[in-house]
Amino acid sequence: MSEETGQSEFQLSVADRLVAEALIVDVDGFEGPLDLLLSLSRTQKVDLRTISILQLARQYLAFVEKAKQLRLELAADYLVMAAWLAFLKSRLLLPPDPSEEGPTGEELAAHLAFQLERLQAMRDAAAKLMARDRLGRDFFARGVPEDVTRIRRVTYSATLLDLMQGYARIRTRDDFRPFVLDRDSVYTMEEALERLRGMLGFSGQWTDINSYLPVGWENDPKKRRSATAATFAASLELVKEGKAEIRQSEVFAPIQVRKKDRNHV
């Protein structure tokens, strides 16, 4: 593509040529091909939504051509864009080939227009943002902030295990040996027996043995398991002693106990 044919083909006005030359001098000042396209689009003096992408493509290609003549080195990005715009131009100019796959020239052009409009919109937004009243320039924070005094309050903590170990230590007068077994969640049969003996006395009704679980053992699964087993074992023990009756209507049904009353016999 020679300079003359380029000139005639693009039919650049004198003003356009001047702009193009100014752009070339300033080639380093552009932030990539999109920025350059946006700058070129200003020569069209139209709303970005009605911009002629075809015309823009020509302007861009002319710019790249000029840059080549001036032996300016253009970054790869600019050349990739040039190649793509040349392709776009041909698509826009030639009648659509129905056998051709992919988006039409119009679709591609529309997306490029969108990109340009979006970039311009972001630039405008950035300008509006920077023009806002700003902290430290237009409005100000307190000049002598009063530091919040940090008061350190120490809380002491100890666990039940600490307590038990402490007590055991004194009682054995031995050096303490660390241990791992957790007896917290173990409810013994003796305990259950005692509890059941006390409570069963008041109940002549069939009652689910689960309702005899000690307070505080119903929720934690581990504790509940231990308490249920102990309570069940204890109820069997009471039946053995002849003090209670036990029943279960079917497999997995609730197990019920009641006091064995002489009247019931």
Binding site: P33, P103, M122, A126, L129, D133, F139, R142
Partner: protein
């Protein structure tokens, strides 16, 4: 057991009258250069205080004054009225000059958040230099948001409450022109219709994904 104690406490120490709570909020906000969250106000004020309510009164009281009570995200601060900025030459801090790239990147993050680096590059058409992002991070105007649930799980950027404070914004929804931009479809991440040159960075998988987080974020 604590259940037994707490109601007692409540009845023992009644919350101070609202006028007094307002004074307390006033003193705390006044003393702090940084915005203070409602949560922190409540934690510093006596038990039973309602900072949110006190702030409504306080804000009204300072309307039209030389100092204003402003909201910054979840926090509140006192700031001088912007029309009096001309009196403050002495207090003015020379803010670091931001490059054009940094300003644009900041705006893109603010309007498109949460946004990935690849998305910023797609919008600007050039790669985003590390330095630009670093500078914005260092100024604490942007921070990392949640990773995007797209291949590669790329990090995203969002603006901070320092950003809101600096630009006098109550929240990110108050960004100038946001509604218009959204209405014009300019905040959509429209995928390129194939064959488009990917400008800026090396191609990224997530580029093709339609990301609509932004719209959700700002929807009232």
């Amino acid at each position: 057991m604590s259940d037994d104690i707490e109601p007692q406490e409540e009845s023992l120490f009644e919350a101070p009258p609202i006028a007094e709570q307002e004074r307390m909020c006033e003193a705390i906000l006044f003393a702090s250069a940084e915005p203070v969250t409602v949560k922190e106000l409540n934690s510093r004020m006596p038990h039973g205080c309602d900072a949110a309510e006190a702030l409504v009164h306080l804000r009204k009281r300072y309307e039209g004054r030389g100092v204003r009570v402003v909201r910054v995200g979840d926090s509140w601060a006192m700031r001088t009225a912007p029309d009096l900025g001309f009196l403050m030459q002495k207090e003015m801090v020379e803010s670091r000059k931001l490059s054009r790239a940094a300003i644009e990147t900041l705006a893109i993050i603010a309007y498109h958040q949460p946004v990935t680096r690849a998305e910023i590059e797609e919008i600007r058409g050039v790669s985003v230099s590390r330095g630009t992002v670093d500078q914005l991070l260092e100024m604490e105007w942007i921070r990392f948001g949640r990773r995007k649930m797209t291949p590669g799980r790329p990090v995203t950027f969002v603006v901070t409450s320092e950003f809101l404070d600096h630009f006098g914004l109550e929240n990110a929804r108050d960004l100038p022109g946001l509604k218009e931009l959204r209405a014009a479809g300019l905040l959509e991440n429209r995928p390129p219709p194939g064959l488009m040159p990917k400008l800026g960075s090396e191609p990224d998988d997530e580029m093709d994904e339609v990301i609509e987080d932004q719209s959700e974020m700002f929807e009232e």
